[in-house]
């Protein structure tokens, strides 16, 4: 089985990339959305004319506030929601109107959606059972996928005898056993505690790299999206605001919404233009040759290696400066102090 080989190779290729992939090669994009619209009635659109191409074997995060259309987009990809207008392609094949099972997608649900009356093993083997695979064979394969998610030791437990994180691993194995071209994850980490969330995040990335398939992951956490994404898609108000590698999105946000939503940026007016300036490019204190503003400190948050100082500028904008703890404690402004903030004009990024 290819999966097995992929695992063996992964163990020997800490430096290189695994050479054996689950998917066939030859196409450029795993997912293409072509002018996709979803409307429930004439007035409101849940998704409004979005187009997106996700390159082969990418980790793609759909990021946005609640109600922005990211989950609807995911459900349309899965085939759980009808597309009002536009087309969806998976590996160069149009699947816009196909039923879920014929799309080559598999969904991992937010509530995991494990069958409560079936053991972990039977949950994972379910798709093989409905395809009439023999019991011995489907149990063998299911065990292999449980091993992939490190759950083989709890194969006979019922879902309610497993912790949230364990249920999630079983749900992941159940989604992967259908050998999808694209795995869809609907806010998979939101129900986990912060510690587990970070661990599971690494696990998801590992499995995606190992299998070489595309993951489309819906989240409202920019931190999660930045940590995972090869391609990050920021959505707001039924539209895509910006799509690109996480670094590109962070360094050159397309507009004020993106700059504010992904955080770590100040959005302000400079010489009549709207610009974003990274919070870690701002310094407390006036400096020659720098652009600046003055404001009142509203909050000081000590974060260990760095300190985050929030201010309200004289023009009423919110400003944040992130500095190393050494820099902060050199002056140590307190809440209520009036301070000057300055930044290099080159750090300004013009927003559209």
């Amino acid at each position: 089985m290819q999966l097995k080989k992929a695992r063996e190779i992964d163990e020997t290729t800490h430096t290189g990339r695994p050479k054996i992939r689950q998917v066939t090669q030859g196409h450029r994009f795993d997912v293409e959305l072509v002018r996709v619209t979803k409307s429930y009635n004439a007035k409101s659109k849940a998704v409004d004319d979005i187009s997106l191409r996700i390159p082969r074997s990418s980790y793609c995060c759909l990021l946005g506030p609640s109600g922005c259309g990211k989950s609807t987009t995911l459900r349309m990809l899965a085939g759980h929601e009808e597309v009002t207008d536009g087309a969806i392609l998976i590996q160069d094949t149009e699947i816009t109107t196909l039923p879920p099972v014929d799309r080559g997608t598999s969904m991992m649900f937010q509530d995991y959606a494990l069958f409560p009356h079936l053991s972990a093993l039977d949950n994972v083997a379910f798709s093989l059972k409905v395809r009439k695979v023999s019991k011995a064979e489907r149990d063998r394969q299911a065990r292999e996928y449980l091993e992939l998610v490190q759950m083989d030791h709890l194969a006979n437990r019922l879902p309610n005898e497993l912790s949230g994180g364990q249920q999630q691993r079983v749900a992941l194995a159940r989604s992967l056993i259908t050998r999808p071209k694209v795995l869809l994850l609907d806010e998979p980490l939101s129900a986990l505690d912060p510690f587990l969330r970070t661990r599971m995040r690494a696990e998801l990335k590992r499995i995606q790299k190992e299998l070489g398939i595309t993951f489309v992951h819906v989240t409202h956490s920019q931190e999660e999206a930045m940590a995972l994404s090869d391609i990050m898609v920021v959505m707001n108000d039924a539209k895509i605001m910006q799509a690109g590698p996480a670094r590109e999105v962070f360094e050159t946000p397309a507009n004020a919404f993106v700059a504010r939503f992904i955080g770590g940026h100040n959005v302000l007016m400079s010489e009549g233009r709207e610009v974003s300036v990274r919070a870690d490019a701002c310094r407390i204190g006036a400096m020659p040759g720098m652009r600046g503003a003055s404001g009142t400190v509203t909050m000081v948050e000590y974060k260990g290696p760095f300190v985050q100082v929030s201010m309200t500028s004289d023009t009423g904008d919110d400003l944040t400066a992130t500095m190393t703890d050494a820099e902060y404690f050199a002056a140590a402004p307190q809440i209520g102090d009036t301070v000057a903030v300055s930044w290099d004009p080159k750090a300004e990024h013009v927003l559209s």
Binding site: F115, P116, F126, V130
Partner: protein, 286 residues
């Protein structure tokens, strides 16, 4: 005034405990005692007499009465389960608007709107020898003579039970089914399951508690019924409950009491057995 929590708990259970004790436990104690007493045509004597029990336990009539009622019970359970499950599935998974779903569920309760006797009487012009069904069948040339088993027969008894009791199955099954998260169905679809496979492998197992609760309603209703069977069979078919009613009418309290206790024990055994197979606590929580 503040009531300590312990006292408050006792106060909360008190009304139900009072009703249960006075209306159920005490009468049950009394009939159990009465079943061991001697009697003649008009009175009960305070003397121990085991005849009521030996009669009830050894008479071949008892066996035949129970065989009759279990036949009705099994047929009614089978039909109400099939119809109830089918309707519930339609209501929960195929009716999209919640308003329509509630409306249709309420419509299923229409048989309860009319009093029993009226409903029974109203079936005479439909199912009787000169009734609409027979006339239609003869006019269509399907039958030569009127069918006499449409009314006052086992058929009409089962028809009446199913008409009335399907709701008892439909309600709990709908409740169980409505609680199945949609994502479970979608996950099954993703896995490639066809609709009948989803029904068999996901919906049916998760409805077991609802089916069990419906079955409990129907077991108690059918085993305890003496009215509908009397009307719908035209007094031709007897069941244990019917026999008890006949003896009560003849003031033969001790044998009636013995048979009542026996019937109660059988009902309790059946329900206990059912609850051992299906865990209905799942249905009661949340």
């Amino acid at each position: 005034m503040r009531v300590p929590p312990r006292v408050a708990s006792w106060l909360q259970v008190a009304p139900m405990a009072l009703v249960f004790t006075t209306m159920v436990l005490i009468p049950l104690g009394i009939i159990t005692v009465v079943s061991f007493l001697d009697y003649d045509f008009a009175r009960v004597f305070p003397e121990i007499y085991l005849g009521s029990w030996t009669d009830a336990l050894t008479s071949p009539l008892t066996l035949s009465l129970y065989l009759t009622v279990f036949k009705f019970l099994l047929i009614t359970l089978a039909i109400t389960f099939v119809v109830g499950f089918w309707l519930a599935y339609f209501l929960v998974f195929h009716v999209e608007s919640t308003g329509w779903r509630m409306g249709l569920l309420a419509a299923a309760a229409i048989p309860f709107w009319t009093p029993g006797p009226i409903r029974m009487v109203s079936w005479v012009p439909l199912l009787g020898k000169e009734g609409l069904v027979n006339k239609a069948l003869m006019n269509a040339g399907i039958t030569e003579a009127p069918l006499d088993w449409l009314l006052y027969s086992e058929f009409s008894v089962i028809l009446a039970y199913c008409n009335l009791l399907t709701l008892a199955m439909l309600g709990p099954i709908t409740h169980s089914m409505a609680k199945i998260p949609r994502s479970l169905i979608q996950a099954a679809q993703d896995a490639g399951a066809r609709e009948w496979q989803i029904v068999r492998d996901v919906v049916l197992p998760l409805c077991k508690p609802g089916i069990a609760i419906g079955a409990i309603f129907i077991i108690t209703a059918v085993l305890g019924d003496f009215f509908m069977i009397k009307i719908m069979s035209g007094g031709q078919i007897n069941t244990p409950a019917n026999a008890i009613a006949t003896e009560l009418a003849a003031f033969q309290y001790p044998p009636a009491a013995a048979k009542s206790v026996m019937l109660l024990v059988i009902v309790v055994v059946l329900i206990t057995g059912l609850l051992r197979v299906v865990d209905i606590r799942k249905e009661l929580q949340r």
